[in-house]
């Protein structure tokens, strides 16, 4: 049987700095990184950096490749698409083996929620 998706409150929307991320502790002990872009969009991906095993993705720099929003890991500068979690660039080019899990994220009454739905996030790191 599949578990029901849980909405995890993260913080107030205005507490997020445009162009940066925050780390979120999920109930199962894993971590997510939530970003607010300059364009006022929200994204949530896994916080674990696949290249080094450190939970630091939330501290990366956001940006864009073309019009696709991205985050660069602060460790070895691998660049991931925020929407898909795909690694599209890095010191040695794209690394298809590195993929961040992605989470649905929503804003309701000024509060940001991450939906922790085991059925929807793929490519987890456990």
């Amino acid at each position: 049987m599949s578990a029901l998706p849980k909405s995890i409150p993260v913080c107030r929307y205005e507490d997020l700095t445009p162009g940066r991320g925050v780390a979120v502790l999920l109930p199962d002990g894993s971590q997510a990184a939530v970003f607010r872009t300059f364009a006022e969009e929200l994204y949530a991906v896994g916080n674990l950096d696949p290249a080094t095993g450190a939970h630091v993705i939330s501290r990366g720099l956001t940006g864009s490749r073309g019009a696709v929003p991205t985050v660069a890991s602060p460790m070895l500068k691998h660049v991931y698409e925020l929407a898909s979690g795909r690694c599209v660039d890095g010191p040695a080019g794209p690394e298809p083996a590195y993929r961040l899990p992605t989470f649905p994220v929503l804003r309701y009454n000024g509060v940001v929620y991450v939906l922790d739905d085991p059925a929807t996030h793929s490519g987890g790191n456990s």
């Binding site: 409150p9 507490d15 940066r20 490749r65 991205t70 660069a72 602060p74 040695a92």
Partner: protein, 863 residues
């Protein structure tokens, strides 16, 4: 096997390098298959390491000796200033000027050549020079400077070397004459018509050319120095005339330096040069000779560097018992810019091949002369290009191959503006064509490096294939190959900004733009996404921080929009480590610290369970701090009087010092006090890359100042300033920038140097690379900083004043601002819960990160 190389010029250096590389790759291989270790020793007559003699003339146009010098190959013993004086071939020993006997199993003679000075009366007067070494160049420069502007310099010899020397004299502002015995200039490379085109161009540049003229004597003036030359055009007394001179340079050719061979019984060629076989072995199987001291199998002595390199490689491989292509002779193709005039000669330039036919293109008004020599069946044999040698790069590799020309010879020679010209792109070359003849790299090998090795820049191609690292003449071809392969070599900062970092700095300064959003909207690439990226955001953040004193007053790097631009280190005012924790480095100016403060650091480290280590910059690193611990750690440090050390920033790091005259028996100045002053003056200054500095209290240089971006060394009279040093991946010694400065002069020079660097350097460019890249090099920087050649000095001074006035401790300001502190949490939804994934083990009584994946060394090195 003990290998001894005598001579450390370009060819000796190449031989040592190849031997070093090959033995490192096959450590146990030797000539006879035994696993005996190989030792390599080099004797260098000059008291300096090997350097690029081909570009000696560049020393007259701003290059420094350091620009020309080569890295010593690893694992090779180099004995500078030591010359071989005797050779005992039976005992296999060489005696040196210091009286040492060195035993060898294999001896390589790479003694090069000596300048030929015609034995005319007065050839050895003061004021007569040769043109061969860095010392010669120094002596000429000094002597010319004493004589002042408008002095007359004469060069004896109108060949390649003579015209190089003439270019050098003319760049010193001398009224320059060239005296050539044969009826035309460059008799070995060009024909009569080419010679006259060259002569016309050079005369236009103010150099007086005397062809068909003998130098009969040099006469001394009243001071006993060269003052007049006696020249003769024929053999009648009426053919004689005199030329008043201040300085004479003999550049009439070279002779092989074959003394060791001559005196110790090696076979020589009829006109000198130690005779060698196809493997560059002399008549003694234990002795090899390479380069200009050797006479090759074809009876010629090669005075060009490319054949010398080939000989060095041939000999090195044969010595180690590896397969080697044999050396029978080489191509004498050359392309030069002499006095600003292109001259190239390649292949069978004089059409001596049976059935050869020439096609000429001459334009006397433009000073152009071009000749192509083709065979009966229309294949290119060689050619001469004077005035415009742009086609050389493409034509030379085709010469002597059976690749058909991409058009008729005359079409190839017509100027491109004609409209009928055949495009001579790199595309028309076969893959087998040699692009770099110094390192024998083919077009195919370069394309392979571009497509398979991912070389996307000229410098990547150079380091991957070595092409372009010899004489450098093929470097433009490397760029063209990249273009042809579709590799875009843009100078744009990133896809969001078409400008370079230096251009963006100017925009921000001139327009007073103080936000990333406005800069991107008004000056970014049309239609660029407003998010920016991890390249442009920190670069712009750095520019805004560098100019914050100017842009409407001081601003914290984490205030407003700037918080979103900073790299993670700047964002948390600490350095991220491999497990996601941070290091804390309080500033310890000049490395001087009281016991009380030292105790505070110890207590903080103990109370927060941090790992402590002394850094190379004379301060203390506290590692293993979690994000949420940083404010509490800094509260303690700030309360004790510490401030940010900016170890996390592209900014001034430390100013290291020795104890100086306060304590040291040898110290001549108070280096600690100056180091503290400098560190406090430049602390917090954001730059394109980190800046390290040091001050030594005497010439013993205990602070290692010459390894820093800014190095100061005390003298009896004041301070010597060095710039552009660094350690790291490519270590570089700093260059002497100015001598015996007073403290006020020193500060002004450093102020301007740093501000000019910040203004014009590219993103992540250390001062060393900046100096090497910037047009005009160190000399230009010196002109700007000390001579105000760009009229920027007042502005640079004002910018530094603004920085000094605006400085405030970033950590103290962060602790005072609740909005900033709010970011220092582990989890936004559980601010006090430590990241459960951070774990430590214990090693030598301190913590050590427990890594889940481990350090990905492959990726670290790639980054």
């Amino acid at each position: 096997m003990r290998i001894l190389i005598v001579g450390y010029g370009m060819v000796g250096h190449r031989c040592a390098s190849v031997l070093s590389e090959l033995t490192a790759a096959r450590p146990t291989h030797s000539h006879n298959g035994n696993a005996d270790p190989v030792t390599i020793t080099v004797l260098s007559k000059e008291a300096r390491s090997a350097y690029d003699r081909v570009h000696l003339t560049s020393l007259f146009s701003g290059s420094t000796e350091a620009d020309l010098s080569y890295q010593d190959p690893p694992g090779v013993e180099i004995r500078l200033g030591e010359e071989a004086v005797a050779l005992d071939r039976a005992a296999r020993t060489v005696r040196t000027t210091s009286g040492v006997e060195i035993e060898y199993d294999v001896l390589v003679l790479a003694t090069g050549s000596r300048p030929f000075v015609p034995p005319v009366p007065g050839h050895d007067l003061p004021g007569c020079f040769v043109y061969r070494t860095v010392d010669d160049v120094d002596a000429i420069k000094r002597y010319a400077a004493e004589r002042g502007a408008g002095a007359i310099g004469a060069v004896v010899g109108g060949g390649l070397l003579g015209l190089e020397a003439a270019g050098a004299l003319s760049s010193l502002g001398l009224n320059t004459h060239v005296i050539e015995f044969s009826p035309r200039l460059m008799p070995l490379q060009v024909d009569d018509a080419g010679g006259s085109a060259l002569r016309r161009r050079i005369t236009e540049l103010g150099v007086t050319v005397h062809t068909g003229t003998r130098t009969e004597a040099v006469h001394a003036g009243p001071e006993g120095a060269a003052a007049e030359m006696l020249l003769a055009a024929g053999h009648e007394p009426t053919d004689q005339r005199t030329l008043g001179v201040d300085l004479v340079v003999f550049a009439a050719g070279v002779r092989p330096w074959d003394t060791l061979g001559r005196e110790f019984g090696l076979e020589l060629g009829e006109r000198g040069g130690i005779r060698v076989d196809a493997h560059c072995r002399t008549s003694d199987p234990h002795v090899y000779a390479v380069g200009e001291c050797a006479q090759a199998l074809d009876g010629r002595v090669y005075g060009l560097v490319a054949p010398g390199y080939t000989m060095a490689e041939t000999a090195a491989r044969h010595i180690l018992g590896l397969d080697s292509a044999s050396f029978h002779g080489a191509d004498l193709s050359t392309k030069l810019k002499l006095l600003g005039v292109d001259v190239a000669s390649f292949g069978d330039a004089f059409g001596t091949t049976a059935g050869a036919r020439s096609t000429l293109y001459v334009d006397e008004s433009e000073g152009l002369y071009k000749k192509l020599v083709v065979s009966e069946d229309g294949l290119l044999l060689g050619g001469i290009l004077v005035g415009d040698a742009s086609a050389y790069d493409v034509l030379k590799p085709l010469a002597g191959t059976d690749t058909a020309l991409p058009g008729s010879p005359i079409q190839l020679l017509l100027p491109p503006s004609d409209g009928e010209a055949v495009s001579l792109g790199v595309g028309s070359l076969p893959d087998s064509a040699t692009i770099c003849s110094c390192h024998n790299v083919s077009k195919g090998a370069l394309l392979e490096a571009i497509t398979s090795e991912g070389c996307g820049t000229v410098s990547a191609l150079k380091s991957c294939t070595k092409a372009g690292t010899g004489c450098g003449s093929c470097v433009p071809m490397l760029g063209k190959l990249l273009d042809a392969a579709g590799v875009e070599q843009s100078t744009a900062l990133c896809p969001h900004f078409p400008q370079t970092r230096a251009e963006l700095y100017e925009v921000v300064l001139v327009r007073g733009i103080d936000t990333f959003a406005r800069l991107l909207a008004e000056h970014g690439e049309a239609g660029a996404d407003p998010e920016g990226c991890e390249i442009c955001k920190p670069a712009v953040a750095s520019i805004l921080a560098s100019l914050s004193g100017r842009l409407g007053g001081p601003k914290h790097i984490l205030s407003g929009e700037q918080a979103a631009l900073q790299d993670t280190n700047d964002h948390f005012l600490a350095n991220i480590q491999n497990n996601g924790t941070y290091s804390v480095v309080p500033r310890i100016p000049g490395g001087e610290i009281t016991p009380e403060k030292l105790i505070v650091i110890g207590e903080v480290a103990r109370d927060f369970g941090l790992y402590t280590k002394i850094t190379g910059g004379q301060r203390i690193d506290l590692l293993g701090a979690r994000v949420e611990q940083l404010p509490a750690i800094w509260r303690r440090l700030v309360d004790a009087g510490f401030e940010s050390g900016h170890a996390y920033g592209k900014a001034l790091r430390t100013v290291k010092s020795c104890v100086g005259s306060s304590w040291c028996r040898y110290g001549v100045q108070d280096s600690v006090r100056l180091a503290i002053d400098l560190e406090l003056r430049y602390r917090g200054l954001r730059a394109p890359h980190k800046i390290k500095a040091a001050v030594s209290g005497c010439a013993r240089e205990c602070a290692e100042a010459q390894g820093k971006d800014i190095g100061v060394i005390a003298t009896e009279q004041g301070w010597n300033l060095y710039v552009g040093g660094n350690g790291g991946f490519r270590p570089r010694h700093a260059d002497l920038f100015a001598k015996d400065l007073s403290e006020a002069e020193l500060l002004r020079a450093i102020d301007r140097f740093l501000m000019f660097y910040i203004r014009t350097a590219e993103r992540l460019e250390r001062t060393a690379t900046w100096i090497e890249r910037i047009e005009g090099g160190l000399e230009h920087v010196r002109d700007v900083v000390l001579g105000d050649s760009l009229g920027l000095a007042d502005e640079l001074d004002a910018l530094m004043r603004a920085h000094v006035d605006a400085y405030a401790d970033e950590w103290k300001a962060a602790l005072d601002d609740p909005d900033t502190l709010r970011r220092f949490v582990s989890f936004v939804n559980a601010p006090d819960t430590p990241d459960p994934s951070i774990e430590f083990s214990t090693e030598r009584e301190q913590i050590k990160p427990l890594l889940r994946i481990g350090h990905r060394k492959d990726l670290v090195s790639a980054g």
